[in-house]
């Protein structure tokens, strides 16, 4: 049967990508349906119970700036918060929290259920309804048809998922859930390039069987950090510590003894696993010189005794898992509640996506999350938000939007994926971002909220908060640039105590703040009236902008210089093989990736500056040839600042 209501956007999947996609689409005014195989697992954390970290925390703050739910959910469910890299500079500081899984899930579900224009339906999706190369709806397991103008697919690891423990394997979407085999088969019939990836989890342990007295506790930071720009520490539930233990020689011997029954080492698993998240058997094989590896014992929640021993992900047979776990300090009598396992799943080559995350082959079909080859809740959520937004924009016949590399980590991730593809599960790191000093956790709101408001993702009230903050920052910077400290004033005397050489002439407050020995607090102390009535985040921004001033200017210059070329659109119909002077290899690479802009083309590996010049000339020649005859085409060749705005 056909469901009686037609939707603007259907989101398939209720994980971190799916929930953000559904919320974003509905917030921008699209009537949205979220279909999940199980309503009880909406917003479920399938892997370790933590949000954030280096690079990932940056993504969470950006999701928050774009009106997403992730930061607020973790603020209401985090039971252990830390600020990583606190001893390093602000650009690379990042927030991370352990979550109570149940509280997290409940918060997300509550947001979904309270979102206007959003409906939820429980049933597996087995098929897509296509009209030529356009998607118009989905079919569920029981044959129910839902019609929609666009569909966002966020199937996670469920597409033909295969779980391995030792030499035995079975089909599954994650431990305890069925896989989506029908949908996987259907998608394999479509012109997508499908590959396999692998990921894994450690065995979970009953905390009551762990001897914590033997273990080193690790407490959260004080004052307790928050994720959301509107978050408060008072929203956090009770805070509890994590613990640290280590593997030892005996552990490694046991693991080595079981390698002949490892699905990874015996060649059963074909999918590629992430290098930064290796299984314990991988670690001891590749780094055999180390006789100990660290394990973080992460609590799963306040109301459960289960813990997640992070660092010993494994797909060894269960008897080996039991033996090596019990060789670890504190785990001598450990009871494993769930065995560790590896999971193989389908993903689609993300180079077949547009920056909007719409597939190039099927109009109206968007992909987000692990099916694009990424790993991590934050990476999935960020893609979900962008895919959901663009699915809605498509229905509303508005221009698509995706943030650029120079304004967000989300932009870095999407550009990396669609330009270079990925050979292993893609995770965010700060070293992936060339404008790292600009893309900080602390200014995600200043970078993205205005656009989010314009797109309808952020309410007037929330945008107003950021706008006020931005204005206060600018005013304060202007004031400090034109406020002078005389070398013989009482203020200078206080400041001199912090300096190696006393001030010899008058300086603006801004120039003083740029000095390494001085911070904003020192100026508040020394100069009457400075900082009066200014909120802490404003002072923080002024200080960071002063400290990074030269670097920020240089990076902004570079961005501005490259802008015209970066954003120059490559016509979708352009036949790369007709461009003279390009090698076959380069033609192949361009044809495979089909870059949307010159900037994207230049980032494809192996594309030379000379090739880019040829591309530019070809576009220009077309423009000259077409000028006057087809104005619409000419327009698509010109720079469109709305597409990638910095």
């Amino acid at each position: 049967m056909i469901y009686d209501k037609s939707f603007d956007v259907i989101v398939v999947g209720g994980g971190h990508a799916g929930t953000e996609a559904a919320l974003a689409a509905a917030r921008t005014g699209a009537s949205t349906l979220l279909i999940t195989h199980n309503i009880e697992t909406l917003g479920q954390m399938s892997c370790n119970p933590a949000i954030g970290g280096i690079g990932k925390g940056h993504l969470v703050k950006e999701i928050d700036a774009l009106g997403g739910v992730m930061a607020k959910a973790i603020d209401h469910s985090g039971i252990h918060f830390r600020r990583l890299n606190a001893s390093k500079g602000p650009a690379v500081r990042a927030t991370r929290a352990q979550a109570d899984r149940t509280l997290y899930k409940n918060y997300v579900r509550c947001q979904l259920e309270n979102q206007d224009l959003l409906q939820i339906f429980q049933q597996s999706v087995d098929d897509l309804i296509l009209q030529q190369d356009k998607v118009v709806g989905v079919v569920t397991q029981m044959g129910l048809q839902f019609n929609a103008k666009s569909v966002v697919l966020t199937a996670g690891t469920f597409l033909d998922g295969k779980i391995h423990i030792g030499l035995s394997s079975y089909s599954g979407g994650r431990a305890g859930d069925p896989p989506s085999i029908g949908l996987s088969e259907r998608l394999r019939e479509l012109p997508f390039n499908v590959e396999r990836l692998k990921t894994g989890t450690p065995p979970r342990i009953d905390a009551r069987s762990i001897n914590f007295k033997e273990l080193e506790p690790q407490h959260g930071d004080s004052p307790v950090p928050v994720f959301s720009f509107t978050g408060k520490a008072s929203q956090h539930p009770q805070q509890i510590p994590c613990h640290i233990t280590h593997t030892n020689k005996r552990t490694h011997e046991i693991i080595s003894g079981g390698l002949d029954r490892s699905p990874m080492f015996s060649g059963i698993i074909e999918g590629v696993g992430p290098r930064y998240c290796p299984s314990i058997e991988d670690k001891i094989t590749r780094f055999s010189e180390r006789d100990s590896h660290q394990i973080f014992i992460e609590p799963e929640g306040l109301e459960t005794f289960e813990v997640y021993p992070n660092g010993i992900s494994t797909s060894l047979p269960f008897d080996v898992q039991m033996a090596f776990v019990r060789s670890i300090k504190g785990f001598e009598n450990a009871h494993i509640t769930r065995p560790g396992y590896a999971i193989e799943y389908d993903y689609f080559d993300p180079r077949e996506l547009k920056a909007s995350l719409e597939t190039r082959h099927i109009q109206g079909l968007f992909f987000a999350g692990q099916i694009n080859g990424t790993t991590g809740y934050e990476e999935a959520a960020a893609q979900g938000l962008i895919a959901g937004l663009n699915a809605a924009l498509l229905v509303q016949e508005k221009e698509s939007w995706s943030p650029s590399r120079n304004e967000s980590y989300i932009g870095v991730m999407i550009d990396d994926l669609i330009t270079r593809g990925t050979q292993e599960p893609y995770r965010m790191f700060t070293s992936r971002a060339e404008y790292r000093l600009i893309l900080r956790e602390d200014n995600a709101d200043l970078r993205l909220s205005e656009k989010a408001h314009e797109l309808g993702l952020l309410s007037d009230a929330l945008w107003q908060l950021t706008a006020t903050k931005r204005d206060l920052i600018n005013l304060e910077i202007e004031r400090m640039k034109s406020s002078w400290v005389q070398s013989n004033s009482p203020s200078a005397q206080k400041i001199n105590q912090l300096l190696e050489k006393p001030l010899s002439r008058e300086y603006s407050q801004m120039d003083l703040l740029k000095r390494p020995q001085l911070d904003y607090a020192a100026l508040v102390e020394a100069i009457p009236g400075v900082g009066d009535g200014l909120p802490e985040p404003v002072k923080e921004q002024v200080e960071i902008q002063a400290k990074y001033a030269g670097y920020i200017d240089r990076q902004l210059d570079e961005i501005e210089r490259n802008k015209k070329q970066q954003n120059l659109k490559i016509p979708a119909q352009l036949d790369f093989s007709k461009i003279g002077g390009l090698s076959n290899e380069i033609i192949q690479k361009l044809s495979d990736t089909r870059p949307e802009t010159i900037g994207q083309a230049s980032r494809i590996s192996g594309i030379t500056p000379a090739a880019i010049s040829m591309l530019l000339i070809t576009i220009k020649k077309r423009k000259i040839r077409l000028s006057g005859t087809e104005s619409s085409d000419t327009e698509s060749l010109s720079v469109n600042p709305k597409v990638e705005q910095s």
């Binding site: 280096i54 690079g55 890299n85 650009a91 070293s431």
Partner: protein, 454 residues
């Protein structure tokens, strides 16, 4: 487009000893550069004949300059063209002065590229430009390859490898703070960084030497009045460049002569005799002599063989100069050996070379020339000496500045992320020399070097 663009400079005529050479500048700084080099601004599109001067006020050349105000120019930006006398050395000095004003060296085809962006081309031209850019990049590749053979190339590559190695540590410490690998906190990173800074300094010294071979060594003739300095200049240049009299203090200003010994370029600079002068003009001459000595690659200290025997040349020179400057290497010329009856000779002691000769009789002149050829690095197989173009030195200089800043940030403020940024910029500069811009897989190297992952 014209805003926020860099200003670029390049030799628009083929390098070599042409009759006329054109240096072209394009970009927002063009107007500013015009007035700095010419001392005045120009009426657009009007050829003006006037001297080109460098930052210290020294005349580089006299030639024709034309200013084109954007968009009415080849590139569509403000453009200025300096047409000079084509000596490679003079043109190079002009380029250097322009670089000092804030311009950067143009990539091959970059002028055409800008013209193209700024809609200064029709269809046919655009097609022609494609070929130019294509062949330009090939030419650049070939010439880069030529100047990059052997040792210099190896050393740059080695340095890049060391920078990448250090970046692996720094990036790993930033992206994986919980993996018990906080390298920023231990001395390892500082010592690796110091090592790289030293290597780069060494490379720059070598590159500078290499460029002496290509761009000419600056040799200053100095000494007391009437020691025979001007005679030496005339002897070396083979013509009467300087007026020679018996009267001490005849040469009152700096005189420059370009000569070549077996094709190796030399800039010989004759200076006023060094003494306590009461005459205002002579005083200025001595000040200029001091400045020339400071900038020289080598000083020929001329002494009258009949009058004195010098033990400590450097001290003597410092005393004569009456100022505390760091001295370049010195060769002592015991002149007028015809009067003392000494035989022409080259004598090398530990850190001093003494050439005994007579400039007026031209005896021992060949010995001096051989000596100069040797110090210029003529023996190309000699270790540590290689060819390097201004582009290389420019890139090395910028790389060195980034390393210094990175070092200061790390040691002063423990700012690892800024060190990381500076190392990235350093690598970019070095890549300009090798022409290799392939993005290296830093993360991949991190994962294969350290056990990452919980």
């Amino acid at each position: 487009m014209t805003q926020n663009q860099s200003t670029i400079v390049a030799l628009a005529t083929p390098p070599g000893k042409g009759g006329v050479a054109i240096v072209r500048v394009s970009g927002p700084l063009s107007r500013d550069i015009t007035s700095k080099i010419l001392g005045k601004s120009l009426t657009p599109r009007q050829a003006t004949y006037l001297p080109f001067i460098d930052r210290s006020g020294q005349q580089l050349d006299v030639g024709i300059a034309i200013f084109f105000q954007g968009p009415h120019s080849f590139t569509g930006e403000d453009v200025v063209e300096f047409q000079g006398h084509g000596g490679p050395v003079v043109m190079d000095m002009l380029m250097e002065s322009i670089l000092q004003c804030g311009a950067s060296l143009a990539r091959p085809g970059e002028f055409s590229e800008r013209a193209f962006y700024n809609d200064k081309m029709d269809l046919t031209q655009a097609e022609a430009i494609a070929d130019i850019i294509d062949s330009g990049s090939k030419q650049a590749a070939i010439s880069a390859l030529r100047s990059l053979n052997g040792e210099f190339s190896n050393k740059v590559h080695l340095l890049v490898e060391k920078v990448v190695q250090l970046r692996i540590f720094v990036e790993a410490a930033i992206d994986f703070p919980e993996e018990e690998i906080d390298f920023l906190a231990d001395d390892n990173v500082v010592s690796q960084l110091t090592d790289i800074i030293q290597d780069l300094a060494e490379l720059m010294r070598n590159a500078q030497q290499g460029s002496l071979l290509r761009e000419g060594m600056k040799v200053v003739i100095a000494g007391k009045p009437n020691a025979g300095k001007s005679s030496l200049l005339n002897a070396l240049s083979g013509k009467q460049s300087a007026i020679v009299t018996d009267i001490a203090g005849t040469t009152r200003d700096v005189l420059t002569e370009q000569i070549s010994i077996d094709g190796l370029p030399l800039h010989i600079i004759d200076t006023a005799g060094l003494r306590k002068a009461k005459d205002k003009v002579e005083q200025i001459g001595i000040e200029r002599a001091t400045r020339e000595i400071e900038q020289a690659d080598r000083v020929l200290l001329v002494v009258d063989a009949a009058e004195e025997k010098i033990e400590d040349v450097e001290q003597t020179l410092s005393k004569l100069l009456d100022s505390d400057i760091s001295l370049p290497p010195v060769t002592q010329i015991r002149n007028k050996c015809d009067l003392t009856g000494e035989l022409p000779d080259v004598c090398e002691s530990e850190n001093l070379v003494t050439v005994t000769m007579s400039a007026s009789e031209l005896t021992g002149l060949d010995l001096l020339k051989q000596h100069l050829k040797r110090v210029i690095g003529y023996n190309a197989s000699e270790s540590g000496v290689f060819m390097a173009r201004r582009r290389h030195i420019d890139a090395l200089t910028r790389a060195s500045e980034h390393l210094d800043t990175g070092y200061a940030q790390l040691t002063g403020m423990a700012a690892g992320e800024i060190l990381a940024e500076e190392l990235k910029l350093t690598q970019n500069c070095l890549n300009e020399i090798t022409g290799e811009f392939t993005s290296d897989d830093l993360l991949g190297k991190i994962f294969s070097s350290f056990c990452i992952g919980k």
